[in-house]
């Protein structure tokens, strides 16, 4: 038995080979390092040589004098000589291609012209004939970058080249070199278009000048999926909404990208007809598309889509989708889905306490005027609040009939010291806020799930709110015996949330609320609400039964505006009363409310009974209601409540309105009053308006003055833009920031720097000190500089100077004085900041360095008086104007 012999010689041979290769690589490492370095050096040198020539060409003016023209021609000859060398041609081509990234406008056009004048484009043409794909691609890329429009015909031949990189470059070229190139490309391309390529082409197209996009719908029928996809993206980008039907068709496309893009278009163009097809395709889509569809439904959908969404919610197991469904439902009908997590569970046992709680509440009401009992009352009321909350939560669990009975019991035995806030959206939540009489009372919260119960409550509430005239009559009948310590606000919002904060005096009072959470019943509830809102007679009857022993010391506010949020200042008789809110979102209700408001506005005597109705049908609106408003600067977005109606009134009503305005208004009415003064013909009304205007102006002035003082203080002290950055930086960054402050800071930074003088860190402390001193010094110079230019010889020193500083300062003053006195003989060294920015970039690019001024008094060459004047004018635009 034997084993095959191993020839160790083979291994030694391999070893030798590896040693040889190793040595070769070792040598090559240094060879390539040196080659690359020397090439870079050579290129830099050659660039330095060629760059001044290029700048001469680029900035040569046709109207140059003879000498310049002669130089120009010599340069042309010189450069042509240089270009006979291939390396020079290559370097020059590189220089121009690099420069192209940094120039624009006229300079860029000249650069393109120069490229062709020097015949460098011919090299690029040569590259197109090469067999290597990378060289052909480079050629196409060069011609495209330098916008050799004649190359278009040569390049588009490659548009269906089998070599990917060449194909992609030619596609970009086609789109860049000719505005119609995109049409040609989309018509003829056979290959797939990568996302990256689409991204690049869109980037090219959007930067094309005078580009008239074709109607991209023409390519939605292409057999190339990527053309369709790109077409859709272009349609979306150029907002071409003339292809709705095709887009709707494309949501059924098998390709997910196309589907996604079609849905994006639907969302963007608000194609309502697409909702039904979207619902149809929904089930077969993958998660991302489903979310996109839901997002689109959220934007375009209406109540009729809710059943579909409910179905999706039930059928889908994916959390992301179910979560999205809920947000979609809420987007269509806000607050349909309410938070359910973390809520307390209420047992029936809590109900036992119900009557006791109510009695306690009654007792508290009677005792509320007694200061001695306040503390005790507070505790009791807190308990009561909890009990009431529990009670109402319990009500949620009851059957509607039971609930009704319960409510009746409560009403019969309880003095109702509240008027709930109703928030009614089209088909969703209705929230009723109760109004306790006393401050700091944590009020009970109730959720009502039952349709009938909500209807009952809504019946009672809506009636009160929607018929002010009848309502006021009702109130007349009850106010003798009833105290009404509440004030309902009605807020109507068809689509979005309206937030109201009001009564600063009552900040600590929490409002009780009744929320309707039954999803199935929402539609019916809102229908009921709407019906009720439209049937004031019934409502008033309801109120009659409800408010037997209620104190009704309320003053409702009504604000109506279809488009924007606004604020009404209003004086209330009882400032400490928390005003309940009612949100009404139903469209019909809103119309009713608006009508009512208009009616009331025409009847000033009823204005005291107006509820606050804030309606916003389209935009989110935040209304801050204050009982005693003493405004500062006017809020431009606020609209005067009286604007819409005032000029339509007769003179008597106008006077009445002005009286009301005087009572209730504030400085916010100033523009409106000015308008009255301008437009009104009746002298008496005009005078009355002026009187009010003066009153308001005085108030406004004093407030403005105060706020201005504060603002100025902020501007001077707290507004250093560096402060915020500084606070969030580490030590090293802080030091860098201090350098920045020195570079670009101004007076504003001084006070900030002062605060840093006490910093814990010594380095920061020292640096701040230095920077502060330097900054102060510089500011003095600048002030002096301005003073000199303005002809002001008296320069006030804002900050004390050190002896050394003083010398510098005196020198500067002397220099400036010389400048102003001997303008004709002034010599300056050219500074980068005086030359156009583009030229600066160019100089940097070409690595040309201007001589640095060694000192401020260096004088290299003389300027004419005209130059000096132009410089002076550019320093001081005001003077130039003069």
């Amino acid at each position: 038995m034997s084993s095959p012999k191993i020839h160790t010689d083979l291994l030694w041979d391999l070893t030798c080979l590896f040693i040889g290769l190793g040595l070769l690589y070792f040598v090559l490492v240094f060879y390539f390092r040196n080659k690359i370095s020397s090439k870079v050096k050579q290129v830099v040198l050659r660039k330095r040589e060629l760059s001044p020539m290029i700048s001469e060409f680029l900035f040569y003016e046709e109207d140059a004098n003879k000498e310049e023209k002669s130089n120009y021609i010599t340069l042309k000859i010189e450069i042509r000589e240089l270009l006979k060398n291939d390396f020079n041609r290559k370097v020059l081509s590189e220089v121009l291609l690099d420069l192209q990234k940094d120039v624009s406008g006229n300079t860029e056009t000249r650069l393109f012209k120069l490229y062709q004048d020097l015949g460098l484009h011919l090299d690029a043409y040569e590259k197109l004939k090469n067999w290597r794909w990378e060289i052909v691609s480079k050629g196409i890329s060069d011609l495209t970058t330098m916008q050799v429009f004649d190359a278009y015909g040569f390049i588009i031949k490659f548009i269906n080249d089998k070599r990917g990189v060449i194909r992609k470059q030619s596609e970009i070229a086609a789109v860049t070199l000719k505005n119609e190139g995109i049409n040609y490309f989309l018509d003829t391309t056979k290959y797939k278009i990568s996302q990256w390529q689409q991204l690049k082409m869109l980037e090219v197209i959007r930067n094309l000048e005078n580009f008239e996009p074709p109607r991209f719908k023409a390519w939605l029928t292409s057999s190339n999926k990527d053309v369709v996809l790109f077409g859709l993206r272009l349609i979306k980008f150029y907002n071409q909404n003339d292809a709705n039907t095709s887009i709707i068709q494309l949501i059924r496309h098998r390709n997910n990208n196309i589907k996604e893009e079609a849905i994006n278009c639907i969302k963007k163009f608000c194609i309502l007809e697409a909702i039904a097809p979207l619902k149809l395709v929904f089930w077969k889509c993958k998660t991302d598309i489903k979310i996109l569809i839901l997002d689109t439904i959220a934007t375009l959908g209406d109540e009729s889509d809710i059943p579909f969404l409910r179905m999706v919610e039930k059928k889908e197991s994916n959390f992301v989708i179910t979560s999205k469904v809920l947000s979609t439902i809420n987007a269509i009908v806000p607050e349909t889905i309410l938070p359910t997590k973390g809520l307390e569970v209420v047992t029936k046992e809590d109900m036992v306490l119900e009557e006791e709680d109510v009695l306690v509440n009654e007792t508290l009401d009677h005792k509320k005027d007694s200061p001695e009992t306040n503390t005790l009352e507070k505790d009791n009321i807190e308990e009561l609040a909890f009990a009431q909350e529990s009670e109402i939560e319990e009500i949620n669990l009851l059957e509607p009939e039971e609930l009704h009975e319960e409510t009746s019991t409560i009403n019969a035995t309880t003095e109702i010291d509240f008027l709930p806030h109703i928030i009614a959206d089209n088909e969703e939540m209705v929230a009723i806020f109760q109004e306790p009489e006393m401050e700091e009372i944590k009020a009970p919260q109730a959720e009502v799930d039952s349709e009938e119960n909500v209807t009952e409550i809504a019946d009672e509430m809506s009636g009160i709110l929607l018929e002010p005239s009848e309502f006021s009559k009702e109130i007349d009948t009850v106010t003798d015996s009833v105290e009404m310590d509440f004030l309902p606000h009605v807020i109507a919002d068809n689509e979005e949330t309206v937030a109201i904060s009001q009564e600063p005096e009552m900040e600590e009072t929490k409002e009780p609320e009744v929320e309707v959470d039954s999803e199935e019943n929402v539609t019916e509830i809102v229908d009921d609400m709407s019906r009720i809102l439209l049937e004031p007679d019934e409502l008033s009857k309801e109120i009659d039964t409800v408010i037997d022993s209620v104190e009704m010391d309320f003053l409702p506010h009504i604000i109506d505006d279809n488009e924007e949020g606004f604020t009404i200042p209003q004086e209330l008789e009882m400032e400490e009363i928390k005003v309940p809110e009612v949100k009404v979102d139903s469209e019909e209700s809103f119309i009713e409310i608006t009508d009512e408001i208009n009616k009331v506005l025409l009847e000033p005597e009823e204005i005291n009974f107006l509820p606050n109705v804030i309606e916003d049908s389209e935009e989110e609106c935040i209304v801050i209601e204050e009982l005693n408003i003493h405004t500062g600067p006017l809020n431009k977005s606020s609209i005067n409540i009286f604007d819409n109606n005032f000029f339509e009134q007769d003179n008597y009503n106008k006077i009445l309105l002005l009286d009301t305005l005087e009572d209730l208004g504030s400085a916010k009415e100033l523009p409106f009053l000015k308008e009255i003064i301008e437009k009104e013909e009746n002298l008496a009304i005009k005078e009355r308006a002026m009187e009010i205007l003066n009153d308001f102006s005085e108030t406004n002035y004093s407030l403005n003055k105060e706020s201005n003082v504060l603002e100025n203080e902020n501007l001077n002290e707290g507004n250093s833009i560096f402060k915020q950055l500084f606070d969030s930086s580490d030590e090293e960054s802080k030091l860098v920031l201090l350098d920045q402050i020195l570079e670009i800071g101004d007076n504003k930074e001084i006070s900030f720097l002062k605060t840093l003088l006490n910093d814990e860190n010594k380095a920061i402390r020292d640096k701040s000190k230095t920077v502060k001193t330097e900054l102060e010094k510089r500011n003095q110079f600048e002030d002096m500089d301005n003073g000199t230019r303005d002809g002001n010889k008296e320069v006030e020193l804002l900050f004390p100077l050190t002896p050394g500083d003083e010398m510098d300062f005196i020198q500067t003053i002397e220099y400036k004085a010389t400048l102003s006195e001997e303008k004709t003989e002034t010599k300056l060294i050219i500074d980068k900041k005086l030359i156009p920015l583009e030229f600066c970039f160019l100089l940097d690019k070409l690595d040309i360095k201007l001589p640095k001024p060694s000192s401020i008094l260096d004088k290299d060459f003389t300027f004419t008086q005209e130059f000096y004047k132009s410089q002076e004018a550019s320093y001081n635009p005001n003077k130039k104007k003069k």
Partner: protein, 475 residues
Amino acid sequence: MDNGIFEVILEYINIVFLLFTIVLFVLFTIMVYLSTRNSIHYRNKNSFGDLSKIMASPLAPSITIIAPAYNEEATIVENIRSLLSLQYVNYEVMVVNDGSKDDTLKKMIDSYDLEKIEQEIDPNWKSKPIRGIYKSKQLSFSKLTVIDKENGGKSDALNTGVQLSDNKYVGCIDVDCLLMPDALLHVVKSFYQRTQKRVIAVGGVIRVANSCKISGGMLEEIRLPTNWLARFQLLEYTRSFILGRMAWGRIDSLLIISGAFGFFDREIVMAVGGYDTNTVGEDMEIVFKMRKYMHDENLPYTVEYIPDPLCWTEVPEDLKILVNQRDRWARGNLETLQKHKDMFFNPKYGKLGLISYPYWFFYEWLAPLLEFVGFFSIIVFIYLGIINWDFFIAITTTIYMFSVMISFYAILWDVYSYNQYTKTKDLLTLVFCAIIEPLVFHPIVVFSAVRGNYKKLFRIKSGWGSQVRKGFAKV
């Protein structure tokens, strides 16, 4: 008779070693060839075109960069600043504080003016509980999201980030990594440039940042590390990334994307259930899993690899930390191979099952063990006086010279492609490292791998270990 059989057995052992070595040579030679071709192709393809123009395109996809942070208070603020300054519009930086015991969270809150926000979380998602989600009050930091969660390890933190992200692509990086400003542009290009296949993941080169001059989160000057361990690792990384992964990328069989710089198609990550929290080699495991998923679903896909130096990181300079790190890698390797053993020589998975997996099995997992066994065998053979000295010296010299040659080639290719270490002294140092590495550094790596495997096989509990970061700001 007995002696004769024993000698024959010994001869066959030699033959096995020789075959193993020759296969290794062949494989490495093929890899060198493939990586060279791939590098040249990549360079030619990307030699023109300006990526920055695409930066703000309306079609640019959204990306979330997820950076898990555990006890990173020393460097976290600086690192986040670096991440926030990338050249891309449509991206989000999501830092997941994985229950840090130090002031990592506080530092972030203070420095970036964070406030807690409400966000609904899938109750079925298996991750450690989230304590809070924070966003900055300042517009300038609006790209930043901080997730504070209970400690669950890097995988768990990454999973949380993936779950909470709603962008198309997610990037999983180490928070202490320094990304080049145009890194995301390269990533997007890689994701978007294919037409035939779906790019499910993009990986990139990790470069060694030890001793580099870094200021304000930006790399200012590339320097060779001063620490010898770091130098060896630099050489190892160069060889691995420029030759190894480039070659695997060329044949679309890349099985690992570094945890320090990996970007994924979020949809696929979610489809495979995210990172495996039961392994310490999560970066390798997820690529296995995603590839397997695409194969099973019969979907055309690819994994892209970017050779440009886009991510810079600190490597351990302490021997103990290095050993722990390599120990962990070995365990991760074994766990992943074990978990996906059904792919081993399985033609269903194509190149993946027939080339990549076996390579990883034999040359990444088994080779260090064989080396270790070989080392002791030689000692025993010498002791017993049965060693074939001729063969032993010849094969050892051949392997050694091959290894040095491959390292030289890696240095050469690095100079040719990127020319980052231009000083003669630096290059000579690297060459010297290449010469002594098989004798000095490699045994450490082998020892760590054996230790890792030992721990895994004998179920000795071991976690991630820790690394003390110096922090770029202090470099």
